[in-house]
Every structure is written in C-alpha cells, then in structure tokens.
C-alpha cells in the first residue's frame, strides 16, 4: 500500500515537472503588429507599381488578424491571400515550397483540404525568436513571384521597425 502511494507521488512529481516544460511563453502577434505589416506591404506594392493586391495577416493558428484588399483588385484575391497566409502559418513554411512540390509531381498533395492547404506562392511565415508567430499572404499583384516579394519585403521592413 505504501508502495503504491509512493508510486503515485512519484507520478505526480513527474507530471508537475512536465507541466513546467509543457507551458512555455511564446510571442503573440497583435492587431497593431498586423496593421504595421499591411502598411509595409502597401508601401512595397506601391514601390513595385503592383497592379493590385490583397493581403492577409494570420496568427500562429492560421486565424486572421487583419486583412485589406486594395482598390481595383479582383474579389477572389481576398480569400486566396487568406489561404496562402493560413497554409504558411500552419506548415511554418513559405507556400512556394508547396507549389513547387505539387508542380514537380506530388500532385496528390493538392488533395489536402482547402481549410488547411493553399499551395500557391505568396504566403510567408513570420518568425520571431525562432518561432512562427503568424504569416503574411498576398494575392492579386502582378505575379505569384511579386505576391511573395511583397510579403517578404513587408516582413523584413516590419522587423526593421521593431
């Protein structure tokens, strides 16, 4: 009986020690940060004379924090920019990686649900202190490459601001 108690106590101790490890702080992207990213993206789009653009900023769960669709940009770009940002946040990778994988023959990957996976170039994760805190997705600029260029430049400019 004493033995069982001892084992139980040890289990609790292990669980507690584990608990301390299991809950760790992580930087969180705020609405203010998301708005700064959008503003930086708008500056870059103007600099590149992009014909239009929609930008979505999501948190680490792929949930939208802020979004904007610039005047005269096609309507679907709003949803596509969100898909790119979400994919990038959830997989913690630029979406170009997945576009390349699908294009190079792993077509089956395109079967992943749309709620999870938009394998189109233009989504870029935001890393702070080695952790992905969210992602930026851009759609509706001159090309998929320009979509990504705007997202990359926005994140770089935003990090320089901090």
């Amino acid at each position: 009986m004493r033995h069982i108690l001892f084992v139980t106590a040890s289990c609790f101790a292990v669980a507690l020690a584990h608990g301390a490890d299991a809950i760790a702080p992580k930087p969180v992207l705020t609405l203010e940060g998301a708005k700064q990213l959008i503003s930086a993206a708008a500056s870059e789009a103007r600099r590149l004379s992009a014909p239009g653009g929609a930008i979505a900023v999501v948190d680490d769960g792929g949930h939208m924090l802020a979004a904007e669709r610039w005047d005269n940009t096609f309507a679907a770009s709003a949803a596509i920019s969100l898909g790119k940002a979400r994919t990038s946040a959830l997989f913690r990778k630029p979406t170009k990686l997945f576009e390349d994988i699908v294009n190079k023959g792993r077509t089956a990957m395109a079967a992943l649900p749309e709620s999870l996976f938009t394998p189109l170039q233009g989504g870029v994760p935001i890393e702070v202190d080695g952790k992905v805190v969210g992602a930026v997705g851009v759609s509706g600029a001159a090309s998929a490459q320009q979509d990504e260029d705007i997202a990359v430049a926005a994140i770089a400019a935003w990090k320089a601001m901090k």
Binding site: A45, R46, R47, S49, A54, E68, R69, D71, A75, A79
Partner: protein
C-alpha cells in the same frame, strides 16, 4: 440619298450610344480608404465598450475588403464576422432579419445559401443601393450590431461628405483649406513620437546620381529624381508632388485630358499623351506643387534634369 444614309447612320450611332448607356449604368463602389474608416469607427465603439470583436467590411459581392480582429478576440469570430457581413451584403438587409425569422419558426431560413443568420451584420447603403456591408462578431448579438452601426454611421457621413465635396468642386473651394488644416493636425498627431530621419550629403548625392527614392513610408515619399528624357503623363490619386528643381530645364504640362490612360497600380494612372493643359518651362530653383488627381507630364527635359520631390500621401 447619301445625306439620308448619313443621317440614318448618325441616328443609329446615337441610338447605340443610348443603348450602351442603358446596358452599362454605373454603380457606387466602396474603396479601401472608406472601408478602413468604417472599420476604424466600429473599433472605436468596440473599445469604448471594452468589447473584443472581429470587424469585417465587405463589398457588394460579399468579398472581404478589410478585417480587424481586436486583441484577445476569440478566433471563431473571424468566420462569423465575415459571414454576417456577407449576409448583409448579398441579401441586402441586416443579418438579424434571418435570426428573427428562424426564432419565429421559419427554420427553413437555415438553408439559405451563403447566409450566416446571426445578428451583427448591417448593409452599407449609398443612394438607395447596397454597396457593401459590415459584420461584427465576438460579443452579445445586440452589442455586435450596435458596434456595426457605428461603422454604418461613419459610412453615411463619408457618403454625405463625398456628396458635399462634389458640390464644393462645383463651386466653393473654401472647404479645401479647412480640410488641409485638419489633415495637417492629423499628421502632426500621427507623426508625434516618430524617429528622426537623417541622410547625409553623400547618401543624397548617390541617390541623385541614379535617380532613386530616398524614403518611402506610408505617410510620405521623398525622391531624388533624375530624368534624362521626357516621360509618361502621370496621375497620382493619393499623392501631392512638391517639386524643387535642382539642375537642368524641363517642359512641364499640367492638367488637360489624358489620352489612352492606363491604371498601372492602385491610385497610379499613366498615359502616353494629354490633350490641353497648361505648359510651363521649369528651371533651377523653381518650385511646383501638383495636387492629387492632376495630370502632369515632363514632356521634354535636358539631360540630366534633377529635382527633389516630396510626396505627402493622402489615404
């Protein structure tokens, strides 16, 4: 005979023009600038109530223009907020109408495609037509709608302001200086606390050697501009160009009507030629201030033509 043919042709063309007009009437479109002001007004109301909500503004097709998730808002509200806004836009009525219908027994309304039948989405109306909608989610249904209403009120005043501005353009110009004054105060508030930018003379000279932007931030741009030949006719919808000539001479045409204009970027229009307008010869030491939406064309320049441009951006 020929004369009859000619007049028939003329009548035909006139009739076709009328028919084209009937087939393609114009509609009011919500711009990003207006959508942001609408979302901001709702955010102010939400903050007043200490409410954590998502605010979504969509166009008349229910597609997203602006979304803001206030800090600490439950993430599920993103989809719900967009859904309420879309419902109000595409069904052209407050989303509460469907919530009420269902509560009163019309459960079938749950099957409406594309509808989120929950209170908190309101249409934005201009001249009796729905041009978009705002959706709010995260708080009680009534509070969500109240916060959305603050956005709608902002939309109403923007729409009224646009109409007032139209009449000002038609006649009185006095309000311009008042608006300019308000904007100046706004920008002082906005830039208060911002970092000081310093560029030394070598950096500036290097930029002029190539003709490059010196600074581009959301509020303004500063360019070290260099031209070696005439350019396109330019129109900036959101920028004033304050030009100071440093070297060379140029023929500058301002105003007039654009020939074959193309939109090359949001708020940026270019054209190969302009009809009419005012022609000026610019030389070292001259200053020209070109307001937004004014065609301007460096038609001919000496090589090189150097000028310093400050471009305040009006969103």
């Amino acid at each position: 005979m020929l004369k009859t043919m000619q007049s028939i042709t003329t009548i035909c063309i006139a009739a076709m023009a009328l028919a084209a007009h009937a087939a393609l009437p114009s509609k009011q479109v919500l711009t990003l600038g207006a959508a942001k002001k609408i979302a901001d007004a709702a955010a102010v109301e939400a903050n007043k109530r200490k409410a954590t909500v998502v605010i979504a503004v969509v166009d008349d097709g229910g597609n997203l223009l602006v979304l803001n998730r206030l800090d600490d808002t439950q993430v599920a509200s993103v989809e719900v907020g967009i859904g309420k806004a879309r419902t109000a836009a595409i069904f052209r009525r407050p989303s509460k109408v469907f919530e009420d219908q269902i509560r009163e027994g019309r459960v079938a309304a749950l099957a409406l495609p594309g509808a989120t039948p929950l209170q908190g989405g309101l249409p934005i109306v201009s001249e009796g037509r729905v041009i978009g909608a705002i959706g709010v989610s995260g708080n009680t249904p009534q509070e969500d709608e109240d916060i959305a209403l603050a956005g709608v009120k902002a939309a109403d005043s923007i729409i009224a302001g646009v109409k007032a501005a139209d009449s000002i353009i038609a006649g009185v110009k006095a309000a311009d200086s008042i608006i300019a004054g308000v904007k100046a105060v706004d920008s002082i508030i906005a830039t208060n606390g911002a970092a000081v930018t310093y560029l030394n003379k070598d950096q500036v000279a290097a930029a002029f050697a190539k003709g490059q932007p010196l600074i581009e931030v959301p509020e303004y741009k500063v360019h070290a501009s260099r031209r070696t030949a005439g350019g396109m006719v330019e129109v900036h919808e959101h920028e004033t160009d304050v030009v100071y000539v440093l070297e060379g001479t140029a023929t500058l045409v301002t105003g007039g009507t654009l020939v074959n204009p193309k939109i090359i970027a949001p708020g940026e229009i270019r054209a190969p030629d302009v009809q009419g307008g005012e022609t000026r010869k610019l030389m070292k030491g001259d200053i020209v201030i070109i307001p937004p939406n004014t065609p301007h064309w460096f038609k001919e320049v000496t090589d090189p033509f150097l000028y310093y441009v400050v471009k305040p951006i009006h969103q």
